[in-house]
Amino acid sequence: MVNANITNKMRNLRDAYSSALIELGSKNEDVVVLDADLSLSTKTKRFGTVFPDRFFDMGIAEANMMGVAAGLAACGKIVFASTFAVFATGRSYDAIRQSIAYPELNVKIVATHAGISVGGDGASHQMLEDIALMRALPNMTVIAPADATEMEDVVPAIAEHSGPCYVRIGRADAPIIFETHGEFKIGRGLVLRDGSDVAIIATGTMTAEALKAYDLLKKEGIEACIVHMPTIKPIDKKLARKVAGKTGRIITCEEHTIIGGLGDAVSMAIAEKPVPMRRIGVNDVFGESGEARQLMEKYGLTAENMAKVAKEMIKKY
């Protein structure tokens, strides 16, 4: 079991991204960073200030940015390409497919502003299908870190990994749940709480909500197993199967459409020996404007909803 706790400390994953990038850039001269006119929001601008020669703003032309990233990678660079998730994956899909995933080039797409918690900008900017799009591509690794600590581990890990990666983080500040570094490993899920009544498998910042759900359920005498799945592809099949066998009930939770994301990955992993499953996510609809917290509540992306679903499942199965 890995030590993880809900703390009062909030930290933005984008800040963690830029700090980790700068540290990586100071150690490795092959690291090149691209952005598409959102470098103040994605925070890659900070890398550009420290390493102006290795930072290129490609303007509002995301598909071109992905192709340029591929060309740099084909010449030996480790390329980080950042913009909002909606542009990074939706607008650029064919460029990623043809020029990055198919030739298996060393491009790290780090997308920010993923999910409904983008808030006020509304559905046009709330990317909810990015995991599905990227997960469907051969050669692509897909990662959604839980907090700033983990994000700082993800950046060097994907730089070390040879091949395309997609990392999605949100816009909002998120509670720190890992107080120490070093737990993240590509493809490895982490058991954060042990229990045998139900397993809650979460990814991204939903993992913090899952930890809260554990406490809510515990008060009612229910022991939940809480799993953090930072890598959605390749999914930790062994762990998914293990907790399925142990609890007999699985809930997945992601700030993403229920189609094609973590829920699908987990259900595929346990399909040979299935147990009842519920998938918490955005239910095949577009989002809307609102405050981040209000939206998370309206669309059921909360600890309270996880606990409710868990109780329903325990009653039913």
Partner: protein, 280 residues
């Protein structure tokens, strides 16, 4: 002025490329002969004179790169690579065949000498921008050649890439536009106009040179004249689709269709006749 022997040799190479285009597409039973034949002369000039490359070391970091953005002209690229020594020419007979490495469109992971996987139109110039930026970053003097189709420039991403190439002053990019005038559905100007083509590239900050894309001497002179003046260059190569095979020239029907057995024999005999005249 170039050496007469060199011109003759490159003409011979272009004919060999054409013969292999016909041979490989015929054997494959599918593929794109028209747009492969139109760039055969440019391809011969690049791989047998202009480009700095080493078939024994396909990944040589200092090599000039070639991105075949109009990836459907793969048969011409494969023929040039095989004739240059990247892999045995006999492999050209296995184009598009399961279990063999010559994919229908260029695949850099499988084919030695292919610098970028292409096929979906509109992507290659962006990749060339990335390769050119890497060259500048590393202080290397290699150049990045990229071959574009004239229908291909209807893709919006081409213009995103064109804009970024001039913004970053990438004078190490040399694009060649295969202006054969035809795309699958018809003449470019009827389907979706691309003219005034030279003016459009000039407006995006490029140096533009217009040439006869089948005149070996003019192609060589043009490469020779390109200056490193902080601007990317595009050569608009006026070509004939299907060039070299009488019944394919200027026609739409051989864009993406292989020749029949009878057509194959006729095409090969025409090209062999031309070879005899050249050697004569």
């Amino acid at each position: 002025m170039h050496d007469k022997a060199l011109i003759k040799d490159l003409k011979r190479k272009a004919l060999e490329i054409r013969k292999w285009v016909i041979e490989s597409v015929y054997r494959a039973g599918s593929g794109h002969p028209g747009g492969s034949l139109s760039i055969a002369d440019v391809m011969a000039c690049l791989y047998f004179h202009e480009m700095r490359h080493n078939p024994k070391d396909p990944k040589w970091p200092d090599r000039d790169r070639l991105v075949l953005s109009k990836g459907h002209a793969a048969p011409a690229l494969y023929a040039a690579l095989a004739l240059a020594g990247y892999f045995p020419v006999e492999e050209l007979k296995n184009l598009r065949k399961i279990g063999h490495f010559l994919q229908g469109h260029p695949c850099m992971k499988k084919v030695p000498g292919v610098d970028m996987s292409t096929g979906s139109l509109g992507h290659g110039l962006s990749v060339a921008v990335g390769m050119a930026l890497a060259g500048k970053l590393d202080g290397k003097d290699y150049r990045v050649f990229v071959i574009l189709g004239d229908g291909e420039v209807q893709e919006g991403q081409i213009w995103e890439a064109a804009n970024s190439a001039s913004h970053y002053k990438l004078d190490n990019i040399i694009a060649i536009l295969d202006r054969n005038g035809l795309q699958i559905d018809g003449p470019t100007e009827e389907i979706m106009h691309v003219e005034p083509i030279a003016w459009r590239w000039q407006a995006f900050g490029w140096d533009v040179i217009e040439i006869d894309g089948h005149d070996i001497e003019e192609i060589l002179d043009t490469f020779h004249e390109i200056k490193m003046n902080e601007k990317p260059t595009i050569i608009i190569a006026n070509t004939i689709k299907g060039k070299g095979v009488s019944f394919m020239e200027g026609t739409l029907s051989f864009h993406g269709k292989p020749p029949s057995e009878e057509q194959y024999k006729k095409a090969m005999s025409e090209l062999e006749q031309e070879e005899r005249e050249l050697n004569g």
